[in-house]
Each structure stands twice: as structure tokens, then as C-alpha cells.
Amino acid sequence: MSRRISYREAMREALRDALRGDPRVFLMGEDVGRYGGTYAVSKGLLEEFGPERIRDTPLAELAFTGAGIGAALGGMRPIVEVMTVNFSLLALDQIVNNAALYRHMSGGQFSVPVVIRMATGAGRQVAAQHSHSFEGWYAGIPGIKVLAPATVEDARHMLAPALADPDPVLIFEHAALYNVEGDLPDACEPDIRSAKVMRPGKDVAILAYGGSLHKALAAAETLAAQGIDAEVVDLRVLRPLDDATLMASVAKCRRAVVVDEGWRSVSLASEIMARIVEQAFFELDAPLARVCSEEVPIPYARHMEEAALPQPEKIVAAVKGMFA
């Protein structure tokens, strides 16, 4: 059994559940309360949980993110919402130098059970400063875990295990997904460890996550019509990467393309390619390929933005290039 729900509603239900289930949980960030959340994710929560637990913050990304880390050290289970990944650069020092290092550097004395959520990605014509995808950088930081829900199922069910995790967990929600609806099964296994095969196939493994997953699935349909049976894998967990699932898919298909909305260079895509070449080199029948954002600031004009981002057609072309 399942029901139809939007990614936004799924996320909101997850938040509501978490807030109801544990008095230590609270949500803080810019405009999460009275405004109702920039993306309306937290709409209605202020009314139910009050301004202490649905806490509007000043524009002070560094301090309120750090305060979330401190509150976690102090026994709470904060959910910090950084409005978008773009502004998280201002908070990065706290995420790296406090959240990520804290347990190891203190010789195991303190854990930091904070969850930090942020919207990421482009595609809504909001131009260069508001269209970044830095989750790849975060995926490179030891001491944290990084999630990228791409489906309503994950939007609904990744938050609880993230909060239960004793270490810092970052959740990247692709801004273009909030309006997307999907079927949410009544019974779900909450899991923040594994990648997931979304579409089994045998000719090429398309490894994608977040907003790009849906482009990969669309590309797979097109390819199927052209006789190429693509397997599509949702990374889901960007750190630690589930190498086993990825390599199994690569070994089975013997060809792989990675899709990542981050800029091409020094991206999560490059990391996955590096791992494949380390772990599955002899399984490959063709060079790996990646479809990433072009290495430019994302322009405002729609056709230019589209040209800058990964698109199903680019994925199709990359795959077909492997069979040429």
C-alpha cells in the first residue's frame, strides 16, 4: 500500500514526527517559523511546536550553525536548516572545524549529534550565486555523513536515522524536487547506509543522486527505446559512499557514467570514477564518463541555465558515446 505525497510534504512529515517523538529535537534556521520556511517545508510547524522549537534565526549562518553544534554537545538534537547550500559557505568553518573534527580531536570524548539540512541545486533560474551544488565538497569531509534524498521515500525516512545517528549528518534536499510527487509505500526501511538500484539494467550503470536521479531515469527510458538497457543507481548516501553496491552495478554492466550537478572538476563524480578505477578497473569495457554541470557560473537565462546543467539528453549522449 502506498499514498501520493510531495517531497515537500514528506520532509515536513518527517520533521513533525521527529519533533513529536523527541523533546530534544528542535528546528532552527532562517525563516523556518513565521515565514513558513523558504520552500514551505516547515509550514505549520511553528503553530504546533511553538517558537522555542521552531526557531527563526537572524542572518548569521556561521553562528547559528555553530550554535546547533553547541546545542548538540549540550544534549539537544538540533536540526539546523541552512536555507541553501549557497549560504552554507559562510558556515563551513563551523561544519569542518567543529562538527567534523570534534569527536576525533577530543580523543573520543564528545559526539556531535546535529543534523544540518539545506536545499541545493539549480534549475529555477536563480542565477550564479543561488545555483551551487557543493554537496560534493561536503562528501569529502571525514567525520560527517552526507545524505541526498531524491525520492519521497527518502525525504520521508532519512531524517529519523539521521537524528538517531550520534555524529553530524548533513542532508541535501534538491530545491527542484520539493514539488515533485511520488508514491510513498506504507512500510519503509529507514536506511542511511546504502545506495539503491532504482532501475535494473545490464548495459550501462548510470550512477546519480538528488535532482540528477530523475534525469538519469529519464535518460534510461530514452536509451531503452534505443535498445540500451541502463541500470540506474541512486547514490542516496554521499558519505560514506556505498562502494559495494556501486561496484556491483559497474561490474555487471561493464560501463558506467556518473551524473552529478556539481561542477565537473573535483566533484563527487570524479571521486566515484576514481573509486571505480581503483576497485573495478578490470571489469570495465570502456572509459568511464560523467555528466556534470559545465564549469561556469550558472546563468539566469533559461536556455543558458539548461545548457549549463546535466540533462537527460547529455546523459543519453554520454552513454551512446561509450558504445560508439
Partner: protein, 340 residues
């Protein structure tokens, strides 16, 4: 009325101390901005304009009063709510509208959109969409002027919300410490998106911040173009003569939503309505008429001129062309030979 969180100040009143020509110029500019943005909102509804669109409606007195205190040699650094500032620097309205459309004829070739208006010719250094992100740039521009002996003021606009950012603090300290010719113009419209100033600032009189850096500060009624202009003139003169920075807080109000996506759950309709009665255009109009400096016909003529300019701008934008997708990487780096 007193149930509203932010009661409006008394309506601007008293004689307007300017000659007719200048008074008409101020009024005309407020009208130009208003009509431009009303049109932009309409075009947004038609999906001609996309992405973020932050309207300045209600705050026109601030931009107009303040920018008329600057000369064309001065620098301007603005936020994402900067249609007014771009226009008042002298940007062609067509180039502005074309940028909102995203066409090649836009002031940033359609790459920036509403939040990133740039204009080298009028020394407009953006359009910055990171709250507080323009302040360090302004400090640096002023530093360059100080080091080069250029007599120039760098005016930097930002909202009340930006005051909470570390960037504000660091920039204020640097400017005061090095005595740089920066005019910090805070457009305090009482809200940072949906967060009222009382919920983002522990101390809502923002002049105290300036004092803590030893920087002179003044506040002015941002609904009154005369008050704004007088305060800005004095502040600009101070910066120009002393070389050091100054902080000006303009208390104003945004009549429309924060951006096009805002359900305005965070403020009362009554509050907005009360502030609208202090609208900078009609109160100024009324004062000028009362003083015999404006007739209804003159008003209608100014308004019609604004409308006509907007129409021309829309026509220009409609006739625009698209940047070629092959040019995506153009100007990622400076082409050889281009003077930076």
C-alpha cells in the same frame, strides 16, 4: 491600529525645500521605479521574467533620496533588491528590463537577472544576492580610492537583515579603522524576509552598532524622500570631506512580498495597510501640491512619462535576442587583450 507590530511613523509633512525642477525630478524617479516594478510583477505573472524578483515598492524614497546625493563618479554596491539603484545610477531602463527577460541586450547579457544588475559605465558593482556579500567589496573599492587618491564615495546598500551577518561587522570595523570613504546605507524595512527586526536583532536601534565602531551614524525617515535626501547629502558630504565612513539608517517598509514566492504569513495586513498610507509617492505628491509646486496635470505628465519609458523598455526587451548556448564559457576568464 496599535495591534500591529510595527506602527508607521507620522506621515511626512512640511514644505519641500527644493525648487520645482528638483522636486519633480525626485517625484519622477520614484514614479519610474514604481511603474517599472509594477510592470515587472505583471510580467512575472506572464512568466516573461523568472527566478527571484524582489520589488522595492514602498521603499522608493530611500533609493531616490539617497542616490541623488551621489555623483556619477561615486561607486555603488547594491543588493538583490536593486532595480531602483540601477535605474537611478543611470542605467537604461531597456537594458534593465532586458536583463530581467534574460536576453543578450540585458545589462549583464541576461546572465544575472534581477539580482545581478551590473553597469560598468555608471560604476554599479552589482547586484549581490548573498546577504552582506557586497559590504566587503565596498570596503575594497573605497580602499582603492584612498590608496589612489581618488575623491570618490562608495555607497553600499543593504537591509536590516544584513546587519546580523559577520560580514557587516567585519566591514564596518575595517572601514572605520582605515577611515575609508564608504557610505553604509541600511535600508531598514523592519523585516529580513519573514523575520521581524525584533526577532533578528537584539538591539533594534542600529545606530548603536555604528557607534561601537566609532563611526558616525544617523537615521532618517525612509518614507520621506526629503528626509532621506537631506540625511544622505549630509552623510555624503561628511564622507567626502573627512574621508571616513558613515552609517545611515533609512527606516522604511516593503509594501509587497519579499519575493514572488512569499505568502506573507509573518505580518498583519493592517500593518501593511497602515504603512501604505505613508507611501512615499503619494505623500510627496500631496506635499508638493499643497505647496503649489505640482499640479495634477504635471503629476499625470510625469506618471505618463514613466509609463512610456516602461513601455519602451518592455518593447526593447521583447525585441531581445538570446545569448548563444555556445557562448556559455565566454567571459569565464578575461579574454586576452580585454582591459580588466
Amino acid at each position: 491600529m496599535s495591534a500591529v507590530e510595527h506602527p508607521a511613523p507620522p506621515p511626512p509633512a512640511g514644505p519641500v525645500p527644493y525648487d520645482k525642477a528638483f522636486a519633480h525630478r525626485l517625484l519622477a524617479d520614484m514614479l519610474r521605479i514604481r511603474r517599472l516594478e509594477e510592470k515587472a510583477a505583471e510580467l512575472y505573472g506572464e512568466t516573461k521574467i523568472r527566478g527571484f524578483l524582489h520589488l522595492y515598492i514602498g521603499e522608493e524614497a530611500v533609493g531616490v533620496g539617497a542616490l541623488h546625493a551621489l555623483t556619477s563618479a561615486d561607486n555603488l554596491v547594491a543588493t538583490y533588491r536593486e532595480h531602483a539603484h540601477a535605474l537611478l545610477r543611470g542605467m537604461d531602463m531597456g537594458a534593465l528590463m532586458a536583463e530581467l527577460y534574460g536576453t543578450r541586450e540585458g545589462c549583464a547579457r541576461g546572465r544575472g537577472g534581477s539580482m545581478h544588475l551590473f553597469d560598468r559605465a555608471t560604476r554599479l558593482f552589482g547586484g549581490n544576492a548573498i546577504v552582506g556579500g557586497g559590504l566587503p567589496l565596498a570596503v575594497g573599492l573605497a580602499l582603492a580610492d584612498q590608496m589612489q587618491g581618488t575623491q570618490r564615495v562608495t555607497a553600499c546598500f543593504f537591509g536590516d537583515g544584513a546587519v546580523a551577518e559577520g560580514a557587516f561587522h567585519e566591514s564596518m570595523n575595517l572601514a572605520a579603522l582605515w577611515r575609508l570613504p564608504v557610505l553604509f546605507c541600511c535600508e531598514n524595512n523592519l523585516y529580513a524576509m519573514g523575520t521581524a527586526i525584533e526577532r533578528h536583532e537584539s538591539q533594534v536601534d542600529l545606530r548603536g552598532k555604528a557607534a561601537s565602531y566609532g563611526m558616525p551614524a544617523v537615521a532618517a525617515d525612509g518614507m520621506d524622500v526629503v528626509a532621506v535626501h537631506e540625511a544622505a547629502k549630509e552623510a555624503v558630504a561628511h564622507v567626502r570631506e573627512r574621508g571616513g565612513p558613515m552609517f545611515v539608517e533609512f527606516r522604511t517598509y516593503r509594501f509587497r512580498a519579499h519575493s514572488m514566492y512569499d505568502a506573507e504569513l509573518y505580518r498583519q495586513k493592517a500593518e501593511v495597510e497602515e504603512w501604505k498610507t505613508r507611501g512615499p509617492i503619494h505623500t510627496f505628491t500631496a506635499r508638493l501640491k499643497a505647496q503649489g509646486k505640482l499640479t495634477e496635470d504635471e503629476f499625470l505628465a510625469l506618471d505618463a512619462a514613466a509609463d512610456a519609458e516602461v513601455e519602451r523598455a518592455v518593447a526593447f526587451a521583447e525585441a531581445g535576442t538570446w545569448e548563444a548556448a555556445e557562448d556559455l564559457s565566454t567571459d569565464l576568464y578575461t579574454p586576452p587583450g580585454a582591459v580588466p
